[in-house]
Amino acid sequence: MFPILQAEFLAPGIKRFVIAAPRISRKQQPGQFVILRLHEHGERIPLTIESSDPRRGTISIVVQSVGKTTHLLNSLDAGDAILNVVGPLGKPSAIKKFGTVVVVGGGVGAAMAYPTAVALKQAGNRVISIIGARNKGLVILERELLQVSDALTITTDDGSYGRKGLVIDQLRDLIANGMHIDLVLAVGPIPMMKAVADITRGPHISTVVSLNPIMIDGTGMCGGCRVLVDGKSRFACVDGPEFDAQMVDFGVLQQRNAMYRSAEQTSMAEFQRNPMSQIESVRHAEDTACATEGDLR
């Protein structure tokens, strides 16, 4: 069991958890993720590690409520526990001095890009950050990103905060205004990452995207997370999750991520029929797990 030490909503439906996971905290590097499972009937889902504190033995993750598992997770609080957390998985981000790096985070992607932005800044890069959200209330990690960025632009779809429009509008303008960019890191929804790749293709700007395909074991065993990169099947869990944006077939990624949509809707509908009983059963998971351990001894 992995106890939740802190839990706070950063925005409606987006929550940050600090979890006791000493082994993972000692090894985590930017760009890596964990896979977690909430209860004995639960699915395994991958989530990027936002930060870690090896001295406290903790990691933090930022979770957006999308399907059943994330809704269930976001109903947990400090004092609850997560049944299984495994990691850190995936290859760490490549960190060195590139020069000027533009970090693009769409929605909760801002939290995924954050640890890499920190490391890039520490490596001596000029970090230009662009984060976007649907509206002001959904903007996350503004303060944190401001600390590690030489410039930060916020965009909102409705113009309620920062620039009205999309993160790619700002990126397009930077390029049009002649900014020299050595690297773009884009993390967010698939259409956003695809749009970034389309924009940087012409000017030949190196661009890295962090992919989030459906994944099960996360150790290279099942091949469920395979993505088409440069015409070849690659496994996001061991070969990624970061890939050269120009080589990624986003259409295939989008199509594969939609594979279980109807099952996901069934799961969500079942959950919403009686959410409290399921939330309670996850909450009490720690007690029963302890009892079983005791029985074995």
């Binding site: 082994r23 993972i24 090894k27 499972r37 009937h41 639960g42 699915e43 395994r44 059943k68 598992t69 049944l83 299984n84 957390v85 495994v86 990691g87 850190p88 998985l89 099960i216 074991d217 996360g218 150790t219 290279g220 065993m221 099942c222 091949g223 469920g224 395979r226 088409l228 070849k232 099947s233 496994f235 061991v238 077939d249 295939v252 199509q255 594969r256 939609a258 594979m259 279980y260 099952a263 996901e264 069934t266 799961s267 079942e270 074995l296």
Partner: protein, 481 residues
């Protein structure tokens, strides 16, 4: 070690030879395709004793010589004849910590039963069935009592809780070493849990066998990916392990590199089986992890091994209308166990032999619609000694399919090797280890099972685990490398 066992068989050798092999009772095919319950139901005590009396009790026990872990077959069979089933279990346990597992999934026809003298005269003794009976008796009656060895003060880390790791753990803990097993997944058992379906090896059997190992003193830690969560070097330098046994198993699933492999509905067998076995997708939505709805769909598995058969028989149970095995060679070359092929046929699985897909075809939504296949003929033998399949020009045809499962093998998982600089690997990426001592190029580190040999069987992995345990014990006692 147990004392020599005397024969109590009332039959003459002539009478024994005349007895037919006792059939394994099994769930009717028409019923079992509707559930995930076990196919083989196990011998009763009467059946087991009838079968055991067929043993010729040869002075030269070629059955035992053919067993990768060296189970004393003649001795345990004699104890079944004598009615001492608990004694029989004790004899098996001296060499095999997972008898309820191997009694179900070991390809006995290639090992002990191939060495059985009766085999030359007709049907070999049902050694696997007898082993299963004894192991199930022990589980049912709760007769197992763990004995703890005198502690040596030495600590051994085992990487992977599959058959090789468990086998080594059992031998090492019985020699008094402190044994800690690391597992990457949330459940213990490795391929026994994620790879082999419930209808061949029920999960509760694995759990009970692992509980026995806990009682012996073995410690288990799940959710640790060695190479990521902790490295081998850190285990030795920071956590004080005196030796490490790497048994991480088979690795990344191979794909065919033909067009259309990324279509929705094309799975690797590892993913397909992991969803079903480890994640219980067949109980969706009671369990959260889904699998595509196979009801009324046409499904094929590509490959002819046990994994392929497990996958297609699972698909049948999930409601597939047509269920095909597509294999590029003929039935004679199929690596799957004879019993599994027989069971698959009984369950209405169709075999498209001497056939191989060349392309997966898409429907308008990016889902699989059909496989374009080509017929093959067998040419000259290849490096494996099997006749090489050669495509027949102009024989291409379309097979309508909604789901295709690739079960064509695996390649080495690089996670441990790439994070352990001292480990030498072979040209295919597997860990280089001595085939007798299981020693690697790094002092104190041993390796065995599929991560050394590539995909093999449960019992061969267990054999490697036993050799490693023996060799680790010698190293710990003598300090010689």
């Amino acid at each position: 070690m147990s004392a020599p066992v005397k024969s109590q068989n009332p039959l003459t050798l002539k009478e024994r030879v005349k007895l037919p092999r006792q059939h394994m009772p099994e769930q009717m095919a028409e019923l079992r395709v509707l559930n995930f319950g076990e196919v083989n139901l196990g011998y009763s005590a009467e059946l087991a004793q009838m079968e055991a009396r067929r043993c010729l009790e040869c002075a030269k026990h070629t059955c035992m010589d053919h067993c990768p872990v060296g189970v004393k077959v003649r001795d345990f069979v004699r104890l079944i004849v004598a009615g001492d089933f608990t004694g029989a279990a004790t004899v098996i346990r001296e060499d095999n910590v997972l008898p309820a597992v191997t009694g179900r999934v070991c390809p006995q026809e290639d090992h002990c039963e191939a060495g059985c003298v009766l085999h030359r005269r007709g049907e070999s003794l049902g050694i696997g069935y007898l082993e299963r009976f004894v192991a199930d008796y022990e589980l049912r009656m709760g007769t197992y009592h763990a004995t703890k060895a005198v502690p040596t003060g030495m600590k051994v880390a085992i990487v992977g809780s599959g058959p090789s790791g468990l086998s080594a753990a059992g031998d090492l803990v019985q020699r008094g070493h402190k044994v800690h097993v690391f597992e990457a997944l949330h459940e213990l058992g490795g391929v026994l849990v994620y790879g082999i379906p419930e209808f061949r090896l029920p999960k509760h059997i694995i759990r009970q066998q692992i509980d026995y190992m806990r009682a012996m003193g073995v410690e288990f830690e799940a959710d640790v990916v060695v190479g990521r969560t902790i490295t081998i070097d850190e285990m030795i330098e920071e956590e004080g392990y005196d030796a490490v046994f790497v048994a991480t198993g088979a690795g990344l699933p191979l794909f065919m590199n033909i067009p259309g492999e990324h279509l929705n509905g094309v799975y690797s067998a590892n993913e397909f089986l992991t969803r079903i076995n480890l994640m219980h997708a067949y109980e969706f939505p009671k369990y959260d992890q889904p699998i595509v709805d196979l009801r009324g769909k046409d499904v094929a598995v590509i490959g002819g091994g046990n994994t392929a058969l497990d996958a297609i028989r699972s698909a049948r149970r999930l409601g597939a209308r047509k269920a095909y095995v597509i294999y590029r060679r003929s039935e004679a070359e199929m690596p799957g166990r004879a019993e599994e092929v027989k069971h698959a046929r009984q369950e209405g699985i169709e075999f498209q032999l001497l056939t191989s897909p060349v392309e997966f075809l898409s429907d308008e939504k990016g889902g699989l619609r059909a496989a374009r296949c080509v017929r093959m003929e067998l040419g000259e033998p290849d490096a494996s000694g099997r006749r090489r399949p050669v495509p027949i020009p102009g024989s291409e045809f379309e097979l309508p399919l909604s789901v295709a499962v690739l079960a064509i093998g695996t390649s080495a998982n690089p996670v441990v090797q790439s994070t352990t600089p001292g480990l030498q690997i072979d040209k295919r990426g597997y860990i280089a280890a001595d085939s007798v001592t299981q020693r690697t190029s790094q002092k104190g580190v041993f390796a065995g099972g599929d991560i050394v040999t590539g995909s093999a069987t449960v019992i061969l992995a267990m054999g490697a685990g036993r050799r490693a345990a023996k060799s680790i014990h010698e190293y710990l006692v003598t300090g010689n490398w």
